[in-house]
């Protein structure tokens, strides 16, 4: 099962990007005049009943962030609205620049532009920015959003490990928050608990966007947020549609990022998947865009096999790396982890999920190539001469034998792994695809003499189960995408004890201290190039220890109607480049 994390990447001139270029849709000709782009209704269709969230403090899905940041919300900084690697650069949005760090990047200042307004014409102030950030701390009201404000701002923790500041609704610890985020005129200052050289990237999240206090309705803000962007909400009915209309108070002179082409933006919910796919297969609604990314398996093949749809589709690498995390506390033997890795039939698993054309390729790194400077081709793992994409049972058997010969913990784990009555236990979310995958993995591991059992978990409970270190079994399937164009949101999150998504539980591994030291060095490094070099070392380290196995660099597909122009891929957002899309007039 994959996590729907947002992904932001820098596309560098790597082999992977060259591979992508051939399959990506070129932007519509720039010779189209503004008049030919302006007007109409941009109609997005989805089978979901609603957006997960519209509250800026709670939205945490890459697609939704890109959509809402384009039409409804403005942040202090934004990604540049251009396709390709240049799209990962930051540009000022509400602020006059992309932030001024000081004190070894523990302090960051942003000055607000003049002339920025809410949808009612009132000015957006520093106090609004401060209030917006404070809401994240009200964890009993604001759920599900990114926690970077909580982890990065210099606010002490309570005895139970939670922040001493409990948000603006209760006000407990308000003085502590006021010290960490302060306003002087139009300048907001953030004081961080440690050096964060890429803190301004975190500010592309709506969780750091301003919120007007008088318009805050707590939980209900999730369906009626107050707009600062070029559009405002005309109506929102869960299960029916979200309709955005032009915000007459938004001024182009204050916004260098967005040019609002359509008169209306509509998101239609509850469109059955087969109905949705037929709309694009038949091009029956030319101004429709598939909001979901991808189609049903039989339809996606049909759609991409049809030459007439060439100009209405994209097949690109998404932000995520999908992998299986080895619980190092329980599988505390490198040779056994390696044995599982070599035994798995990766080809069969990829074919099951749609094949390499639509699903993705075997990966060699927890960091994806599109992260650019932070990615490196590692050695070993899939580059090991003994690795076979269909699995190498002989190599796996040899590793198991070596583990048994080693004695101690290795011998115990190897004995358990090869015991038909015990075996390794793999946590898996219940789904038809996963159940088929389980059969493939059982057979491949059996050929290598390894026994595996599956612990089936209802999808909604999967992550709350495996993230509980007392409940996670030997292996857990997961997926992760960088939250912004820096491996700082990948390696520490996944592989340090403090990380929010560590399924490897590796901190007792003898190899951990050296890795932790690398991570600490990287997080405190303010020179980007030096930092990238350390991340690369960290990635190699992770792969050498087999703390994860079977990474896959996955793909996603997009489809739209013939009446839509300006469709591109927004690298850092992992989704449509919404600001350039228009309805052909």
């Amino acid at each position: 099962m994959s996590v729907t994390r947002k992904g932001r990447r820098v596309l560098a001139a790597t082999a992977a990007s060259a591979l992508l270029a051939g399959s990506m849709m070129a932007a519509t000709s720039t010779s189209v005049s503004a008049a030919d782009k302006t007007g109409g209704t941009l109609l997005f269709v989805t089978f979901a009943d609603q957006l997960d969230h519209m509250d800026p403090a709670r939205v945490y899905t890459g697609r939704d962030i890109a959509f809402l940041n384009t039409y409804l919300f403005r942040n202090l900084v934004m990604y540049k609205a251009v396709p390709g690697s240049a799209g990962a650069s930051l540009v000022p949005d509400l602020a006059t620049n992309t932030g001024v760090p000081s004190n070894s990047a523990k302090t960051w200042k942003f000055t607000l532009r003049k002339g920025i307004t809410w949808q009612d014409g009132s000015a957006i102030t520093c106090a609004d920015v401060k209030y917006g950030v404070s809401r994240v701390f009200a964890q009993d009201v604001i759920t599900d959003g990114p926690q970077y404000a909580v982890s990065m701002l210099d606010i002490p923790k309570s005895a139970d490990g939670t922040s001493a500041y409990k948000g603006p609704y209760k006000g407990t610890g308000q003085a502590l928050f006021d010290k960490a985020v302060s306003c002087k005129g139009n300048t907001v200052t953030f004081k961080l608990s440690r050096s964060v050289a890429d803190f301004n990237y975190a500010l592309t999240y709506p969780a750091f966007a301003p919120v007007k206090k008088s318009k805050d309705t707590g939980d209900k803000y999730d369906v009626k947020p107050f707009a600062s962007g070029p559009y405002k909400i005309a109506s929102y009915k869960i299960g029916d549609a979200l309709t955005l209309e032009r915000n007459p108070k938004w001024k182009k002179s204050s916004d260098t990022v967005r040019t609002p082409y359509p008169d209306t933006v509509q998101l239609r919910f509850g469109v059955a998947q087969e109905v949705r796919d037929q709309i694009f297969l038949q091009d029956s609604i030319p101004n429709a865009i598939n909001f979901d990314g991808g189609m049903l398996p039989t339809n996606i093949r049909k759609f991409f096999a049809d030459d007439s749809t060439k100009k209405r589709r994209m097949n690109v690498y998404d932000p995520y790396v999908r992998y299986a995390a080895m619980n190092v506390k329980k599988v505390n033997c490198l040779e056994v982890r390696q044995a599982v890795f070599f035994a798995i039939n990766t080809q069969a698993l990829i074919d099951l999920s749609g094949g390499s054309v639509f699903y993705g390729d075997p990966g060699d790194n927890p960091v994806k190539p599109v992260l650019g400077v932070d990615y490196t081709k590692t050695t070993g793992n899939i580059h090991d001469s003994a690795w076979k994409i269909t699995g190498n049972a002989d190599k796996a058997k040899a590793l198991i034998a070596a583990a048994k010969a080693k004695g101690g913990a290795c011998a115990d784990v190897a004995a358990r792994a090869t015991d038909a009555d015990r075996g390794l236990v793999w946590d898996m979310a219940i789904s038809a695809t996963n159940q088929k995958a389980a059969v493939l993995m059982t057979n491949a591991l059996k050929d290598a003499g390894i026994s595996v059992k599956f612990n089936w978990i209802p999808p909604g409970q999967y992550y709350s189960t495996v993230l509980d270190s007392t409940k996670e079994n030997d292996i857990a399937t997961a997926g992760w995408g960088a939250d912004w164009a820096n491996a700082s949101t990948v390696l520490p999150e996944l592989f340090t004890k403090e990380g929010g998504f560590n399924l490897s539980l590796n901190w007792d591994d003898p190899a951990y201290p050296a890795f932790k030291s690398l991570m600490t060095k990287a997080l405190n490094e303010t020179n980007r190039a030096k930092q990238a070099a350390i991340w690369k070392q960290g990635s190699q380290y992770v792969m050498d220890q087999y703390w994860i196995i079977r990474p896959v660099f996955s793909k996603t597909q997009f489809a739209w109607g013939s009446g839509i122009g300006g469709v591109n891929y927004w690298e850092p957002q992992g989704n449509y480049l919404f600001p350039t899309m228009y309805v052909k007039q």
């Binding site: 964890q139 609704y169 805050d216 309705t217 707590g218 109905v275 909604g460 993230l467 929010g500």
Partner: protein, 333 residues
Amino acid sequence: MAKYLAKRIAYTVLILILVSISVYLIFSVLPMDPAALTCGKTCRPDVIEANRHRLGLDIPLWQQYWNFVRGMFVGRDYGTGQAAFHCDAPAFGYSFNRHECVTTLIKEAFPVTLSLAIGAFVLWMIVGVSLGVIAARFKHRIPDRLATFFVLVGTSLPTFITGLLMLVFIVMRFGLANPLDIGKWVSPVTDPLGWMKTFIWPWMVLALAYAATYTRFTRSSVIETSSEDYIRTARSKGLSDRVVLWKHTLRAAVAPIVTMAGLDFAGLLGGAIITEQIFNLPGLGRLAIRAVLIDYDLPTIVATTLLAASFVVVMNLIVDVLYAFIDPRVRVA
């Protein structure tokens, strides 16, 4: 009659109280933690506990139930400070997934389900009873055989098959409806034509399954009644077949059909889950299934369950009273 009605109403209230308690008890013993299921992506233990508090699940079960009962009479308050809000009585609770008071959600969903139920009911009664009567009248002849075939097809094809076939191969393939208008709710008062366009397909799908059952049932009931002595007497008196059928046979045959129809209609008012899902109708069935499978939304589950139970119980009462009028031999005690 008044005494009978008073007693039945008292039983109804008691049953609904028992149903609501049962739902709370069942929810509490389920092997899943709603706070963990709905805590989002960063599901650490402290986040789960904060979510549990948000959902009001960190208090004893009896207190949760008392808050629910109290809310039905005086409404309920949620949140603190700037985030505070109120759900007016009768307050079933608040849906944190839909960000709306459950009573409001029910008020929006019910007209959709009512429209679906009424239209399908009228259609299946007309088709089912008529075909059943024709089949009985022409027993063992061609009309009967055709009706039997219809019964076989209608009862063997599940609703999700007929619904999908209807949607994809008829509606979409022949462009009989705008795919984005499928399931679009419009009021029958403001736009009766639009309302009919939305519901004609789900009516047909739902009615097919029920009409087949009613055809078979009506046929059996009419045939059974036709063999009664008083029917033979009526015939021997020289009355025409038409008079015997309409004036004597049907009156007796319709009684059990009324009972069945009442209960089936009541069941539909609780939500035709599959049909609503396929045709994207925002009715009670869709609301309920989403609350159970996706949102783990206890207040919505309690509300939709109570509503469905009350429809069945009330309809039982109506049918019992109606029966007394249809069949003079029956007296409500």
